[in-house]
Amino acid sequence: MNSNVKTHVANAIKKGFRLDGRKNDEFRKISFEVGSIFTAEGSAKIIAGESELLVGVKLTAGTPFPDTPDDGVLMVNCELRPLASPHFEEGPPSIDSIETSRVIDRGIRESGSLDTKSLCIKKGELVWMVQVDIVPLNADGNLIDLGAIASLAALRVTRFPKLENGKVVFGELTDEKLKLSEFPIPVTVHKIGNNLIVDPTEAEEQASDARITITTLDDKRVCAMQKGGDQPFSEEELKKALDLAFSKAKDLRAQIAAL
């Protein structure tokens, strides 16, 4: 990115009036659409500003891993296709793509909100495998947070397909829903200059010096973290980032719970 434009973005944030008119600690207005993909067991589309992501949850039955014979399997995958942004390239997954899916995966997995024991069909032989696919349709920043929020929304509306003699009958959904005990919401706090912002656009992400993703649960617990960028966070800044993460996650959690 052009260094002049970068300075311009940073100056606007310094004044507390971002390029799209938001305050530094303000999220873009989020809108959801759930269950729009009929071939998936659960799905959600999220739109925040220019960013748009589609998440599909697929439930299949398979053999468990030998070391966890009575645990279901969770797989989270995010692919940044060229469809979403001119900066994304065709080919094997980029570092950003892998990081996005890993951070979202870690948030859901380490929160323990998805009870993998309840996904066991027959110990050592057959378990449910939950596959979460995240596809950005238009990338304008903050893909980790939005991808995770959309994943939670999709998981929340996921229903089990019919199971006959150990085989899944796709297209026939039962009324049984996937149980999600909590909503682990990640909030990525970006540091630009000496200021902290949430929900950056692509331009702001490019101007960012450092970022930290903090995934939190309802009762003030932190379940996952990821730091990125070249610059460090001071102790002071980290505390501020934590406070931001808790307060923003609270609003977002209420939005998902209302779906």
Partner: protein, 294 residues
């Protein structure tokens, strides 16, 4: 007798027969096949006198000579800069069109334009092979430092500019921002974040209501609402320079060091030669063919 087959300002589609007969002339977006004129782009039909053309409703920017566009430098060449101007083909700023400075052989060209720099440039030539020459020298042209860029559809640019620049000067006057509108749809805005946000909002509105009349009133209402009544009554902002656009003043003449001006100074070299009053000698007379003496 020639006949127009479609009403003026009607929407024509590629392949549609526009006119019969040789009295009409095809312009952009149309072509002649025998004695018919046929559209090759989707757009509104416009007839001015004998000239028939289509005005595109959308689509990628088509470079045209004398357009002022905003480009992004994508490569530094041996003697110039390659610039992305948002069209199908990239353009080149030649060394002499990039700066007024004397550039020594092998000098570092990134001093003038670096990769990812934005510049307001003028298209000086578009060849039939789609080689585009642009210049960064001239009034209001040059490197753009600071500010932000937004993109609108290049078909909507005339509405953003307004009749003889009325819309842009309205925005400049009301917000105090510096604005450069490129014909390719790139718009550069520089001011305080709050002012810029108002400008972006206004441009998005112009884009949305580009086809509806009373656009200026709508924009004025918006600006009043955002900035207050007095914003529209501010004095006109003088047209300003974006970059180094005027040739820097020559240094004062120093008679002891400068040679006296000859009467041919500044003229083309060829003019200096006295006019020939006899025809040039024939090559065969001048040179004897080799081996003829043997």
């Amino acid at each position: 007798m020639s006949k127009l087959l479609v009403n003026e300002r009607a929407i024509v589609v590629p392949g549609e027969l526009i006119a019969e007969g040789m009295d009409f002339l095809p312009s952009t977006g149309t072509y002649r096949a025998n004695d018919h004129i046929i559209a090759n782009r989707l757009g509104l039909l416009q007839v001015s006198g004998k000239v028939v053309k289509t005005v595109p409703l959308s689509g990628v920017y088509q470079p045209k000579k004398n357009d002022v566009v905003i480009g992004k430098v994508i490569d530094v060449l041996i003697s110039g800069w390659r610039v992305d101007i948002g069209g199908a083909y990239s353009a080149v700023i030649g060394l002499k069109d990039g700066t007024f400075d004397f550039v020594a052989r092998g000098a570092d060209l990134t001093k003038y334009f670096c990769i990812d720099d934005y510049a307001a440039v003028k298209i000086t030539n578009v060849t039939s092979q789609n080689l585009i020459d642009i210049s960064a020298k001239g009034q209001g042209l040059g490197k753009l430092t600071g500010g932000r860029l937004i993109t609108v559809n290049s078909a909507k640019v005339p509405r953003v500019i307004g009749k003889s620049g009325s819309m842009v000067s309205l925005l400049k006057r009301a917000t105090g921002c510096r604005i450069v509108v490129g014909q390719n749809g790139l718009i550069w805005i520089n001011g305080t974040p709050e002012e810029e946000y108002v400008v972006v909002g206004a441009i998005r509105m112009i884009e949305k209501y580009a086809h509806i009349s009373g656009l200026t009133n709508r924009v004025e209402t918006y600006l009043k609402e955002k900035l207050g009544e007095e914003a529209l009554n501010r004095p006109e902002v003088p047209e300003e320079q974006v970059g180094e656009s005027e040739r820097p003043p020559m240094r004062e003449r120093r008679p002891d060091r400068d040679r006296p001006r000859s009467r041919f100074e500044g003229r083309d070299r060829r003019e200096r030669r006295p006019p020939r009053d006899r025809p040039p000698m024939q090559a065969s007379e001048e040179k004897t063919p080799q081996g003829s003496e043997e």
